[in-house]
């Protein structure tokens, strides 16, 4: 018997080049924790080269033993794998019976390779030598079987109790980059080992996947559910995903489903019953996010979006992004003021645009994936829930998303360990999150400030529209911006923005400008020989009352053009510009009014400035304000002391 839960996808025009297409029949054994699968891979050679080898990711082999590159890099914490030996939570992925469309058995040619670190124990990349090469722009079908032992509570994937989550789980073909694509000087395979940080870089394709699971299990997956077939005590769930770079699914007997819609997209929330109330937070948030991105970048083109909020014992899979399916993370007791569910669902959905549709290389250029996503996360959440309340708003403690990420970055002592251009596995000693996520968001916010939000939006939209369903590199991003600012702001940035990207992408320097001093000196009449050599005396002249000077200083190494503001005692102000190049810069004015205040970057657009406090200076002492702050602390202290004395 067949139940059709979803609308069978009509044949829609291809959005991508559909290089790698998979047809998979999967059997899940929930007792032995194993997957068995037969796969048909239909692969198109995207180049003028003749391809005689294929490379596959075998992600599950990262969990085969503790010698894998993944384990060595990450040092997976004990709390995650404490019972791995007792329960044999180790995993593997084993490919067999590999054949091409001429029925040549290529199994003997299978060979593990380690292109990144030569670690002989790492088996996460499999090379297949072809008996029948794939000719330029031709398509060939390959069939193979594979068996996987499912890991227990590994990062992002695995099982725990009767909760299963399959991410980075199937043998996935690498990306063949023709000469000229991204950084390829000649045709080459790009198929990195599975590193502890960064996963994505895959070709677009169609996925037809049938999962055979126990009949009481509910499946959530990438793509659209096109049918469920009951077979005895089991059910076969059929999902179909078009123009996506990966395929992820999960199943559990305990999922409950809530639904909503945004335009043509059916949004489904899969969670456990005790977290059902969170739907009131998830749906409005995701719809706001979808609308924001719809207006600012382009329409989400898929028919489904599945949000999975895993149970507490499935936390290891939370906060991740996969094509048309994302995971959040929450506890049922979260008060509304802790915005973690909103933050995660927004962040992971933005990834549908940056890495899923604009399919950048997360391992080689992490910032283009996580960084751009964090930038939009700040914009969307601050717009949705307030710039000072979008992350936490509990008991008077308030914090916005952008300000939280900025503070997190500047609080980290790893923030200068690597430039933004570093590959994911180069963050050996930390800094991945700080630099790839937060630093990028900060300099993108700064870029937005320099260009103006309208131009920034226009260029980001152009970037998205130009590169969706393709694989851009940083050069492509930079080219869009260089071209855009030369056209829109030719006087301000005649040479584009290379000077900016050079500093923020390839360096570890920081930015800090400040107001150093304000002086107001009473004017004196000129003295000495002024007009002629016969008369050495003061000259009566019409003078302004004060010669005032403000000195601005650059303490950081990064240079950015700065707006300067000086404010006079009557409240009027004057604005100046400084190219920000010199170490110091002064503004001198003759005036009848004293300067009472000076500001560097008065609009607060240079978000990557390390210290905003020294951007503002007044000649009036701020002791009144300090007294007020101290007064507040003092009353809290009084009550705290009295409270403790009440108890004992």
């Amino acid at each position: 018997m067949v139940f059709c839960l979803g609308t069978i996808q009509a044949q829609q025009p291809a959005l991508s080049n559909r290089v790698a297409n998979y047809n998979m029949d999967i059997n899940l054994d929930t007792e032995t924790k194993k997957l068995n699968c037969s796969t048909i891979l239909t692969w198109t050679n995207p180049s003028a080269d003749t391809i005689s080898e294929l490379y596959f990711h075998l992600y599950y082999n990262a969990f085969k033993n503790a010698n894998s590159t993944f384990f060595k890099e990450r040092g997976v914490p004990d709390w995650l794998t404490s019972d791995i030996d007792e329960t044999c939570g180790w995993a593997y992925s084993h490919v067999s019976n590999f054949k091409d469309d001429a029925e040549n058995d290529l199994s003997a040619s299978l060979e593990y390779v380690q292109p990144d670190d030569n670690n002989p124990d790492d088996q996460t990349v499999l090379k297949v030598t072809l008996a029948k090469p794939v000719m330029p722009y031709q398509t060939q079908k390959f069939t193979f079987d594979w068996e996987a032992k499912i890991p227990k509570t590994m990062p992002r994937t695995g099982y725990n109790k009767d909760f299963f989550f399959f991410a980075q789980w199937f043998p996935k073909v690498g990306v063949y980059e023709p000469a000229g694509m991204r950084f390829a000087e000649e045709g080459q395979w790009n198929c990195h080992q599975y590193h502890s940080s960064g996963e994505y870089y895959s070709d677009f394709g169609n996925y037809e996947v049938k999962m055979n699971v126990p009949s009481n299990f509910i499946v959530a997956s990438s793509g659209v559910n096109v049918g469920i077939e009951k077979k005895g005590e089991r059910k076969i769930w059929h999902f179909s995903g078009h123009d996506i770079i990966d395929f992820t699914w999960t199943c559990s007997p305990h999922y409950i489903i809530n639904e909503d819609n945004y335009k043509q997209t059916n949004i489904r929330l899969y969670t456990y019953s005790y977290k059902d109330h969170l739907k009131e937070r998830y749906f409005p948030t995701i719809k706001f996010c979808m609308q924001f991105l719809d207006e600012h970048l382009g329409t989400y083109p898929y028919k489904t979006l599945s949000i999975v909020d895993p149970p507490i014992h499935g936390m290891f899979t939370g906060g991740m992004e996969y094509p048309t399916i994302i995971t959040s993370l929450s506890f049922c007791f979260f008060p509304e003021g802790i915005k973690t569910p909103e933050t995660l669902v927004v962040h992971e959905f933005i990834h549908q645009y940056f890495m899923q549709m604009v399919a950048t290389h997360e391992v080689e250029e992490t910032w283009m994936d996580e960084g751009i996503t964090t930038y939009y996360e700040g914009r969307i959440l601050d717009a949705y829930m307030g710039e000072h309340t979008s992350t936490i708003d509990v008991l008077g403690f308030k914090c916005g998303n952008k300000e939280f990420n900025r503070a997190e970055y500047f609080s980290s002592d790893s923030r200068k360990l690597a430039p933004n251009s570093a590959k994911s596995w180069h963050y050996k000693h930390g800094g991945y999150g700080d630099i790839a996520y937060n630093k990028t968001a900060l300099w993108l916010q700064t870029l937005e400030g320099l260009l103006g939000v309208e131009l920034m939006d226009a260029l980001m939209k152009k970037y998205f529209q130009t590169w969706k369903f393709k694989h851009p590199s940083r050069n492509d991003f930079i080219a869009i911006f260089n071209e855009g600012v030369k056209e829109a702001l030719p006087e301000k940035y005649p040479n584009g923005l290379d000077w900016f990207f050079q500093q923020v992408l390839f360096g570890t320097n920081e930015c800090d400008y400040k107001v150093k001093s304000i002086t107001n000196t009473e004017s004196e009449a000129p003295r000495g020989f002024i007009n002629n050599l016969d008369d050495c005396s003061a000259v009566a002249a019409t003078l302004k009352k004060y010669n005032s000077q403000v000195i601005f200083q650059r303490d950081g190494e990064i240079t950015v053009p700065q707006n300067l503001q000086i404010i006079f005692e009557d409240g009027s102000s004057q604005f100046f510009s400084w190219d920000g190049q010199e170490r110091s810069f002064d503004v001198s004015v003759a005036t009848d009014l004293k300067i009472v205040e000076a500001r560097v970057d008065p609009e607060g657009i240079i978000m990557m400035d390390r210290n905003l406090i020294n951007n503002y200076m007044t000649v009036q002492p701020v002791s009144g304000s300090v007294r007020k702050i101290v007064g507040k602390v003092l009353t809290k202290m009084q009550h705290l002391m009295e409270s403790i004395s009440l108890l004992i």
């Binding site: 509570t153 725990n160 109790k161 005790y274 149970p311 507490i312 014992h313 936390m315 290891f316 506890f331 049922c332 007791f333 000072h388 008077g396 403690f397 308030k398 914090c399 916005g400 300000e403 939280f404 900025r406 503070a407 500047f410 609080s411 205040e597 390390r610 210290n611 905003l612 406090i613 020294n614 951007n615 503002y616 200076m617 007044t618 002492p621 701020v622 002791s623 009144g624 304000s625 300090v626 007294r627 007020k628 702050i629 101290v630 007064g631 507040k632 602390v633 003092l634 009353t635 202290m637 009084q638 009550h639 705290l640 002391m641 009295e642 403790i644 004395s645 009440l646 108890l647 004992i648």
Partner: protein
Amino acid sequence: MSKVIESYKKGWQFLWNHKSVLCVIYIINLLLAYLSVGPLKNYLESAFGSSTLAKKLADKFDYTIIMDVINNYGVGVGVSLSSLFTFIFIYVFWSSFTGAGVMGLVKKRKQNPDDNFKLVQFFIEGAIYFFRFLRVSIYLLFTYAVVLFLMFKFFSKDGLSVFEFESEVFLINRFWILIILFIIIAFFGSIFRDIARSFIVIEDQPNILKSNIKALKSIVIVESIALSLINLIPLVIISALYYLLRNVLNEPFIVAFIISQIFLLFRIIYRIVRCASFLEFTD
């Protein structure tokens, strides 16, 4: 029950007749709090220098400014915090002293009702019973520590590995049960403390063990519970009113400050009345 009400009334009468004691306790509280925030004041002045952002922070909680202060001028944070904790510690001693002073004074006044009250008597009585009161506080503190430890053991009896849990619902239920349990224990703990202290003052023996045993027997007496509740009810009402007002009248600062001081005064009044009424009740 009439004894309970009579004791409570006498507690207020004591306060009314000894307002200077209230003033002293309030002034010491203010002084200690002022001294404790001294390093913070210096720290903030050095951090902000003459930055106008100080005004922004003074007006409302601003995460960015706070974090910029910590990240750029962070050395002083530790010093400021340790100073705050030091003064909390000192205040614990002071509160034992004030309890001793109040209860000792109640006893003295009952014995010699016609003598003129001099503030120095409060300090003398405080000095007499201080160390015995402090011992009661230490026992109580130790008891709370044991209770909290046992509660933690109960809370984590199924382990703390989230991967072992079916759901977090039972955790949060367990948490609330423990919170309620702790409030009940603290309620009876405070009855024990005040009755034990009363016996110490009344019997004036160097060994406090007998007083403590007597107090333990008295904590479940209905009258003791009623007296504690009668004392607590106005505090709960005033606290609720304060938190309501604080949200409404947050600005200007001076208004918020005055309301806060009035509330603090009431909390000190509660402590004095409670001490005096429990001694009247026990005597």
